[in-house]
């Protein structure tokens, strides 16, 4: 029963797609004959150079600040917007579609593009990076939260209508407590993603540990690069642990 013609066709199509994608991306494992180069290169990363550690930690704080502000401002704007962009709470069909289009528009623009555009007006530094992260997260969190609203239980909403509460208020009060833990977990995931994004934004002059990593790399200071990478890994893990701690507290 596994060998239905439809399944066979699916496998053939997948095979064709894999072949062409490998052609396009020059995917070729035999290239690993130069594997030694990588080992030699990574060898230069060690021992780590701790001389610039205080500056690195300072830059790490800047990165954390960027990611935190960008994602939190994103959440603050996205939360009310997502009630407009959810089918069951939207004030009208017009606003529903308008907000949906708006959200997918800001979502479709990568942070780095926002960053490059904002740089022209705001100059180098973390401020344009914060705004770039914020804009993108409005789109992402707005979509995710509006889906949570649509999936929420309609029972409490009906009860709030039955006690004579105002419509908008009934929505807010009956839905928010239901979705809150999931909103938090989405938020912390986006916070974590924002840290990685802020690294990339550092490459284009957005500041933080990302810019330091880029500069160390370009100036061949590999023993500093290794410490930068280690610090970044530790930050991401700490934020992840903190996120699950807060979520467990709420549930």
């Amino acid at each position: 029963m596994w060998f239905k013609s439809r399944n066979i066709i699916t496998v053939i199509i997948l095979g064709v797609l894999i072949y062409f994608s490998m052609e396009l991306t020059e995917f070729n494992l035999s290239k690993f004959r130069d594997f030694r180069n990588m080992v030699d290169f990574l060898g230069e990363w060690f021992p780590m150079d701790y001389a610039k550690l205080p500056h690195m930690l300072e830059d790490s704080l800047e990165t954390l600040g960027m990611a935190f502000l960008g994602s939190l401002f994103g959440l603050i704007v996205a939360l009310p917007l997502s009630f407009v962009a959810a089918r069951n709470t939207s004030p009208s069909g017009f606003f529903y579609h308008l907000s949906r289009v708006l959200l997918s528009f800001v979502r479709s623009i990568p942070e780095i593009v926002f960053g490059l555009i904002l740089l022209t007006a705001l100059g180098l530094g973390p401020f344009p990076a914060v705004l770039a992260i914020m804009f993108h997260n409005i789109g992402v969190l707005g979509k995710l939260i509006s889906e949570l609203i649509e999936a929420s239980d309609s029972g409490p909403q009906e009860a709030m209508k039955a006690v004579g509460a105002k419509k908008g208020f009934a929505y807010l009060f009956s839905i928010l407590p239901q979705i809150w833990p999931n909103v938090l977990s989405h938020y912390f995931y986006r916070f974590e993603v924002a840290i990685r994004t802020s690294l990339i934004l550092g490459f284009i002059g957005g500041g933080g540990i990302g810019q330091r990593l880029f500069n160390d790399f370009k100036t061949f200071q590999y023993s500093s690069v290794s410490l930068d990478v280690l610090i970044i890994m530790v930050i991401v893990i700490i934020v992840d642990l903190f996120g699950s701690f807060v979520r467990n507290k709420v549930i």
Binding site: P156, V163, G164, A165, F169, W180
Partner: protein, 250 residues
């Protein structure tokens, strides 16, 4: 007090009418149980009474005011006079018993006050008194999802009582509870009904409960009233007519 005139409801996705030309009149102090098979229109009727469902034609009059011609604002004022309890309780998860009961006041307060979430001492004491009335004082600060089904429905009743209701509506409030708990809940509803001199209208599947507590039974079948009388008159024959397609075989 409550009058239903020529009420019909037809759902968009359905070929037949959920309610067809219902005429009913209710007095203060009546304890009415509505019987009928699933899909007979019980739930639709209850939901028309407080305007959660709009009728296709006909009108519901509450104290001589026709619901269908009221503004949203005036409809809210009527809804808060009718406490409603639900089969699945419809409590707000993650909030405590006390917080859930206090939401019963939302019809009386400004949005601004509600968002701040401030309640004055008088309101909180009233909520605590009502919680004591339904026997949940020791659960007051627990989150509602930790409670048993019977306890959840007590919270539902307390929330409805906080509305200072003139009427009590129940949409199968005991259908997801075991028979013992269901009987307790009915006794509690009856106690509050008598204390506050309410009009109580409840959908129920358990005929015995209806005969024990109701002062009047209404049976619905295919959206029409087929019985409306004192519970003593609801006998085997009426039971069969309500729940089976054909009359009882001799």
């Amino acid at each position: 007090m409550l009058e239903i005139k020529d009420l019909s409801v037809q759902y968009e996705d359905s070929d037949f009418e959920a309610l067809s030309s219902i005429d009913l009149h209710f007095q203060k102090g009546e304890f009415v149980c509505i019987l009928g098979k699933s899909g007979a229109g019980k739930s639709t009727l209850i939901r028309c009474i407080n305007g959660l469902q709009d009728p296709t034609s006909g009108t519901v009059y509450w104290k001589d005011q026709p619901l269908s011609s009221l503004s949203e604002e005036d409809l809210r004022k009527i809804r808060r006079e009718m406490g409603m309890i639900f089969q699945h309780f419809n409590l707000i998860p993650r909030l405590t018993v006390l917080q859930n009961v206090l939401t019963g006041l939302f019809g009386y307060r400004s949005t601004y006050k509600n968002i701040i979430g401030l309640f004055n001492k008088e309101e909180i004491n009233h909520a605590k008194k009502v919680i004591a009335d339904v026997g949940l004082t020791d659960q007051m600060y627990r989150k509602v999802e930790k409670l048993s089904g019977g306890q959840k429905q007590r919270v539902g009743i307390a929330r409805a009582l906080l509305q200072h209701p003139k009427a009590f509506l129940g949409d199968e409030p005991v259908s997801s509870l075991d028979p013992g708990t269901a009987s307790h809940i009915f006794r509690l509803i009856q106690k509050m009904h008598n204390r506050h001199q309410l009009l109580t209208i409840i959908n129920v599947h358990d005929v015995n409960l209806a005969k024990r507590f109701a002062t009047r039974i209404i049976a619905l079948k295919n959206g029409k009233v087929i019985f409306d009388d004192h519970p003593d008159s609801f006998q085997d024959e009426e039971f069969h007519l309500t729940y089976y397609e054909t009359a009882k075989q001799p």
